[in-house]
């Protein structure tokens, strides 16, 4: 499992879920940074973190997931960075499609899905 770890960014305002996602991804051998909202995520990226996938919650105080997604698409550096929407929304498939997300995970889900999505998004 070790050795083929990927760099991942988790954007989630709920501290418990942030800890769970990061803990699970680290357990699968990935290198993880977390952010509690969109602007913290942008700071992490600007400071040189180069993830190959972003797991993104939508509803967050401060800059929300919709706004972060829009900012990423508008910036040459991150426009092709795959985003996986992680949310509890009723029609998460529609939300993800509207954002141009690569995939979506509806809360709650099996944590192994985080590893599967990371591998799928980072190897393409």
């Amino acid at each position: 499992m070790e050795g083929d770890g990927h760099q991942v960014l988790v954007v989630e305002d709920d501290p418990a879920l942030r800890e769970i996602y990061a803990g699970a991804l680290r357990g699968y051998g990935h290198d993880v940074r977390t952010a509690a909202d969109g602007s913290a995520a942008l700071d992490t990226l600007r400071n040189g973190w180069e993830p190959c996938v972003v797991f993104l919650d939508l509803r967050m105080p401060g800059m929300d997931g919709w706004e972060l997604s829009r900012r990423l698409r508008e910036d040459e550096r991150w426009k092709s960075l795959p985003v996986v929407v992680v949310a509890a929304h009723f029609r998460i498939d529609q939300e993800a499609a509207e954002l141009g997300a690569a995939a979506w995970l509806q809360k709650p889900f099996d944590l192994a899905r985080l590893d599967e999505e990371t591998r799928a998004q980072c190897q393409t």
Binding site: A16, L17, I20, M60, E67, A88, Q106, L111
Partner: protein
């Protein structure tokens, strides 16, 4: 006793009473339901004013003598699913075909305005001396108001279900997540019981959040239906309750906000439902955290005044526009500047319902960009034993 009949309208005592037969057209015009009589050739032989109205015609006299098919052509006839209504299944046609008192709900969509009206259509065959002389009496009961109300109720229920399932998924995700982390850890490091114990504590806490949400949804459901909420009144020290909930809130938000608690008395004792009152305080505290920037202060004060226990929660957040001050207590209302923030607008509605049941009130003082102060006032001796709030109370703002 004054004469209840206007003298000018009272019949002359010397006149013969009018025959009912002669009055029949006027009697039918007084009926709210549309009534038509149609012959086998499809010609309208009789229609009352309500029928003319259903057909969008100015008066019954314009309708009589016309072909029913031509009149109906102004409308698109649709069934329950919005599909074209099979003409052969219209009650008038079915009655002519010999079916006993057929009925159907028909949606009439005006071809010009595209407006829909729903009618319960019933028909009955009046047999003539010969088949050619058969007539069909058709009545149209306008049920548009009922249908629209039912559709609204279904929409509110669906929204409620969507909100409830959405809000429950986050703590549920935490329960599953911690359980999975613990199992993985146990597989690799079976002796690290301290870590397992911590995760079990986290699972318990998340399950507690989930329980709180479920209880809140149940209360809202009861309040909206105008049903009694099973309150459990007991001796509560407001100062202690508030301090505990502030401490819990502080623990769950990574010290992102600076809380301060003060009270003008060592204890403020009243008879309230501590579980529900705790949820009210959690809701308001949670909003203060969600709607104010990290690092800002949240001040919580308790005091007693004129037989009331009071709590004020003051934040330095985004504030609430004055036009929204009352609306924020309505179920599922989200202030225009609240988008993007977790939560669905059920919290304050439920909080207000609970505070009202305890005989108190919850108010807000706020201006956009200048923070908010929520004040809860509760009578120390709540007499609320048989508690019942009407749905209207919950909605009125």
């Amino acid at each position: 006793m004054p004469d209840l009949i206007d003298a000018a309208q009272a019949p002359e005592p010397t006149q013969q009473p009018q025959s009912i037969e002669a009055l029949l057209p006027a009697i039918f015009d007084a009926v709210a339901d549309g009534v038509t009589v149609i012959d086998r050739q499809g010609t309208v032989r009789f229609a009352n004013e309500a029928a003319a109205q259903v057909m969008g015609m100015p008066s019954a006299s314009v309708v009589v003598g016309e072909s029913f098919a031509a009149l109906a052509d102004a409308f698109e006839l649709l069934d329950d699913d919005g599909e074209p209504f099979d003409q052969a299944k219209l009650p008038t046609r079915r009655a002519l075909d010999g079916e006993h008192e057929p009925e159907a709900v028909v949606r009439f969509r005006d071809r010009d305005s595209k407006k829909d009206r729903w009618s319960l259509v019933r028909a009955r065959l009046l047999k003539g001396e010969t088949r050619d002389l058969d007539l069909v009496v058709t009545s149209f009961q306008d049920i548009t108001k009922l249908v629209v109300e039912a559709q609204d109720a279904v929409r509110v229920r669906d929204e409620f279900m969507a909100i409830a399932s959405h809000d429950m998924r986050t703590p549920l995700a935490a329960v599953r997540g911690y359980a999975q982390l613990a199992r993985r850890h146990l597989a690799t490091t079976p002796n690290d019981l301290a870590a397992i114990d911590r995760w079990l504590g986290d699972i318990d806490e998340s399950a507690g959040r989930l329980t709180g949400l479920v209880s809140e949804f149940m209360d809202i459901s009861l309040l909206q239906g105008g049903n009694p909420v099973p309150m459990q009144l007991q001796r509560v020290d407001l100062v202690e309750l508030v301090t505990e909930h502030v401490r819990d809130q502080q623990g769950s938000v990574d010290q992102s906000h600076v809380f301060s608690v003060s009270s003008d008395a060592a204890e403020i004792v009243g008879y309230w439902d501590p579980g529900r009152l705790g949820r009210v305080i959690d809701n308001v505290l949670g909003n203060a955290v969600k709607f104010s920037p990290a690092g800002s202060s949240i001040e919580v004060r308790t005091w007693s005044q004129d037989g009331y226990g009071c709590v004020a929660i003051v934040d330095e957040g985004i504030g609430i526009a004055e036009r929204d001050h009352q609306l924020i207590f309505s179920p599922m209302f989200r202030a225009s500047n609240a988008r993007g923030v977790q939560g669905t607008g059920l919290g304050l509605a439920g909080s207000r319902g609970i505070v009202m049941l305890l005989g108190g009130e919850i108010t807000v003082q706020s201006r956009l960009g200048e923070g908010s102060t929520f004040t809860i006032r509760l009578p120390l001796n709540s007499t609320t034993t048989s508690v019942r709030a009407s749905g209207a109370d919950l909605h009125s703002a």
